[in-house]
Symmetry: C2
Subunit: 134 residues, 2 copies
């Protein structure tokens, strides 16, 4: 199969303005953030409610797609392994998976969520219920 | 942000040859499958081992990307909701998330995994450790 064309369905608004500010995982002190769904896709959000546990899937646009091996969690004393054995953002297709709780739904197209470690301006590509959290 | 170009890093080989054969979730009787990683990305698999719990992320190429609302699990007695409130494959960006166990690593670029509900020929776009399974 040839290349796949993914359309951003929304964007992250966050107080995290640089990569140095971002924790490695959401549960390591990440703040609340606002997930804004673009107007053509707002209808697809119906049924998502405060209290739901969801997976926000992002495109980590600041990542280096040429990286195939890395030190997990940037610890150079750890084994140097393939990126598919890690959660490094640097990988051929830098998809971010963020398990978060919906705190509030605003204006039918914005979700206030917690905790989210993604950078301000990160494109959102999908949202799913977090089945593993049930 | 404009459209995003995702490159398939592998492909699913499965006994599931038609959508009618596919269970709705992997844990609903899905078979083993083989995840073949294309040669340029095989190095990124180093460190993935038999026994690991991983997330295989696919592109559900047979999905209908125009669908914004649906009946969850095709049950028309359920509320008609937005696709982001469901795990329906029909959605603007049909990414599939498959939590599986690695049964065996073959030839350095193939993973025998269980259970996987994706169709034979489904493109693979990413692999990550399944943190929620720890």
């Amino acid at each position: 199969m040839n290349n796949i064309n993914v359309t951003p369905i929304g964007v992250i608004h966050s107080s995290l303005k640089s990569l140095d500010d971002c924790p490695l995982q959401g549960n390591e002190g990440a703040p609340e953030a606002l997930v804004e769904i673009h107007a053509p896709y707002a209808e697809a959000l119906q049924g998502v409610q405060a209290g739901n546990k969801i997976l926000v899937i992002t495109w980590l646009h600041a990542a280096d797609r040429s990286v195939l091996k890395c030190y997990p969690r940037n610890e150079t004393t750890a084994p140097y392994v393939g990126v598919f054995a890690t959660r490094s953002p640097d990988r051929p297709n830098p998809l971010g998976l963020h398990p978060v709780k919906v705190m509030e739904v605003l204006d039918g197209n914005q979700l206030r969520v917690h905790p989210l470690e993604a950078l301000d301006g990160t494109p959102v590509v999908d949202i799913k219920p977090d089945i593993s959290a049930r």
